[in-house]
Subunit: 189 residues, 2 copies
Amino acid sequence: MRLLEERILKDGTAVNEDILRVDTFINHQVDPELMQKCAKDFASHFKGMGITKIVTIESSGISPALLTAIEMGLKLVILKKQPSKVLNDDLYQTMITSFTKGTNYELTMSKGVISEKDHVLIIDDFLANGECATGAIRLIRMAHATIAGVGVLIEKNFQPGRSKLTDAGFEVYALARIESMSRDNIIFS
Amino acid sequence: MRLLEERILKDGTAVNEDILRVDTFINHQVDPELMQKCAKDFASHFKGMGITKIVTIESSGISPALLTAIEMGLKLVILKKQPSKVLNDDLYQTMITSFTKGTNYELTMSKGVISEKDHVLIIDDFLANGECATGAIRLIRMAHATIAGVGVLIEKNFQPGRSKLTDAGFEVYALARIESMSRDNIIFS
């Protein structure tokens, strides 16, 4: 998506070869107009696939996911991060190890918000190592639902997230794919 | 707002006299249509006040705040929670003590996303003890911006959040005001 790539070049900051800051328009300050255009693109790409629910992971994915849910006339489920395992029979839980941030947390979803009748689209801000997306997929499968695909605003194409997902048979759709980065230099695929 | 009160009665769960679960339509699963109607109500109430930016606290306030930002044609700033103080000259930080959850965290905002020219509307899901809202106000004031008011979906009227804010001169607008709760019984003001 040209518009998002141009905005990343204009307002994003490649801190180093791994870290891209998009704090002024996606993560910390949100440009709602840009997010609406991204959501329209997701909705158009995934239309006609029988999707029944949008799922995202708190908190940076919420904005694009909510607007995609509105575009598609669907409800949104926000998967929650907990610092440690909670003893609760009403929750599905799975451990996420974030190599990027060097942290562990439990991703959780209440039983009942998604059922075996659901066909789910996962929307998030970034795809890098794919820990979040694969964790979300584990939770959705615990609820016996099926997965239509994964849509992300920005993919770091030089990290293994996409191949982990496509190797497992999931479609990945990224609005901006970064081939490589270095300080103040961003190259798209 | 009648619609939100009715939805709370239908789908909310008063766990005890303090805890209201709204997981199926606000916090965990989000009903975008309901959130859009709430956002229209906020936008209508706060129109013509010269508001330049919407501010919320991650993560449950993001949905109503983003849609209010869209209704009002403004950008959204999401204040971030950090487990501990970060050494960073580019951040404003303030400690929040949540009596409800028994936790401490640092609320943070990058310098530059809000300036002394801004007149800010704070939107959140709940107002109870007011720790989050007063913390957000401290950060906004560190940036020398002014505050137009605080809009929340649900106010626990039996807790001191509103009086803390109104005593300090801030307008509070709540779409549903709960006078009292007990297991399976919710009374609105």
